[in-house]
């Protein structure tokens, strides 16, 4: 695999610029910020539990909107390059397909990080205004949500290297559903027998376990993850994302345009 740092950087910056100049991103981000701010309303109708309600509502809104952004923008990018033939402009130049693919991925991750930062700042400001406290667990939870979105970006990119934008979005959404049901799937597998048990266990190990990135309960009770948990989640993210990126690259390397 031949990678060129400066080419990857150029493609990543161009991808980032492309997404941040997309009106769809601003619409989604605006709506997300409004929804997070609206958690104040949800908090005000609860009986003495407003901080908890705001925390739960806010982090869920942040997760949902970040995943929507990941799915809608992430699955479109490579497909749109092929559809609009802008891929001719880049792939005919002195660069490897690996550099192009990784550049696209990093550019998307950068966009997601910026969106999460905007939403996270609004979320923290809302919490601070309502509770007068600065919530460190919220920062941890937001960081884990970013890792989840980055993993799903790799998944979306993998799908978009061999299928249409719509199909990629649907498949990635399917992965989100399965990934957040990992614990249920594991429990089901342990209660099943025969082939069904093997199938469920295979699904559990093959699909990403997105529940590992879920710290919603922890922030409600103001718990912070310990170092071991953080390292395990980061290691899981790196291993799974690398595997998905390599699979995507193997397909993209053979794609014809």
């Amino acid at each position: 695999m031949k990678l060129n740092g400066s080419i990857i950087k150029s493609i990543a910056i161009n991808t980032f610029r492309e997404t941040v100049r997309d009106k769809l991103l601003y619409s989604l981000l605006g709506f997300a910020v409004l929804t997070i701010a609206a958690s104040l309303l949800a908090g005000s109708v609860s009986l003495g539990q407003d901080a908890r309600v705001i925390q739960n509502f806010g982090i869920t809104a942040l997760l949902v909107f970040l995943l929507i952004i990941t799915i809608f923008i992430g699955t479109q990018l490579v497909y749109r390059e092929v559809e609009r033939k802008t891929i001719y402009l880049t792939l005919s130049k002195p660069l490897t397909r690996e550099s192009f693919y990784l550049g696209k991925y990093i550019g998307l991750c950068l966009t997601i990080a910026v969106c999460a930062l905007v939403m996270g700042v609004v979320f923290l400001a809302v919490l601070r205004w309502k509770t007068g406290q600065f919530s460190t667990p919220v920062i941890w939870a937001t960081s884990f949500v970013i890792l989840e979105a980055w993993l799903l970006t790799a998944v979306g990119l993998l799908f978009s290297s061999f299928t249409s934008a719509l199909a990629s979005a649907v498949y990635t959404f399917g992965i989100v559903l399965i990934g957040h049901s990992a614990t249920t799937i594991w429990i089901l597998s342990q209660k099943s027998q025969g082939i069904l048990r093997y199938v469920l266990e295979m699904v559990y190990y093959l699909f990403p376990n997105l529940e590992k990135f879920n710290l919603r309960n922890e922030i409600v009770y103001n718990f912070q993850p310990d170092l071991q948990q953080v390292l395990l989640v980061v290691a899981y993210f790196i291993a799974y994302t690398a595997a998905v990126l390599l699979a995507g690259l193997a397909i993209f390397r053979r794609d014809e345009f």
């Binding site: 031949k2 060129n4 610029r17 033939k85 005919s92 002195p94 014809e256």
Partner: protein, 239 residues
């Protein structure tokens, strides 16, 4: 400069294999303008896409300045202008050229000046900060030519470069091609505007149904025919 040897390519449509190029061999001499002629569907664009590594050959070799065509070193020598060029809609003409400069890893200090000069050369100086999505078809063609020249290529590969241009634009482009030739650039272009090809090309090859059927200077091929176009039509119809 460009040597294609026994190039074979077929497309797969579901379970069906459709052969497109059958053992194509040709050689483009250094410093010449080479016209690649053929009717629609003859295999011109497929050949060009294989040369620039957007499609993969089933067999055969392509060498650019004695380097394998898909190597990074060979790609540094190429300037490519695709048929109906498209650019990132969010970029301005200047930004497109700067981005291409980055992909060629050109010196950042000179790339800005180079982009400005090229935009002036192709008649887009006034539109340098206009986003590409507002460009007309002719402006797209002009920008694509500037992109192809960004790395001072030794080999310019252009797929229907005169398509979509008005008569003044075509005149401009032909002048620019001849200027590039004077600088020593080899030009490989496909076209179906045969009067233009006859005017500027030193050598041509005719491709029909995926096979090279004739190759030589336009004057030699035309022979007793009044124009290259009439010779082309007669040759293709005979096949």
């Amino acid at each position: 400069m460009l040597k294609i040897d026994k190039l074979v390519k077929a497309y797969q449509f579901r379970r069906e294999t459709v052969p497109v190029l059958h053992n194509i061999s040709l050689e483009v001499p250094r410093g010449k303008i080479f016209g690649f002629l053929g009717a629609n569907g003859a295999g011109k664009t497929t050949t060009i896409k294989v040369i620039v590594d957007l499609l993969f050959a089933d067999s055969g070799t392509i060498m650019i300045d004695n380097l394998p065509h898909s190597s990074i070193k060979a790609k540094r020598l190429i300037g490519f202008m695709p048929e109906q060029p498209q650019f990132y809609h969010h970029l301005s003409a200047r930004e497109v050229l700067l981005f291409v400069g980055e992909l060629f890893e050109l010196d950042p200090k000179t790339v800005e000046t180079k982009a400005k000069n090229l935009l002036r050369q192709v008649g887009l100086a006034d539109a340098e900060n206009t986003v590409v999505r507002r460009f007309s078809k002719g402006m797209h063609q002009r920008l694509a030519f500037a992109v192809a020249l960004m790395n001072d290529p030794k080999l310019l590969i252009m797929d229907e470069p005169l398509d979509g241009l008005d008569p003044l634009g075509r005149l401009d482009f032909k002048r620019l091609f001849l200027e590039q030739k004077k600088l020593g650039t080899t030009i490989f272009l496909s076209s179906h505007i045969l009067s233009d090809v006859e005017e500027i090309c030193d050598e041509v090859a005719i491709i029909n149904k995926g096979q090279i059927v004739k190759q030589g200077t336009p004057q030699k091929l035309r022979g007793t025919y009044p124009t290259l176009e009439e010779y082309f039509v007669s040759t293709v119809q005979k096949q």
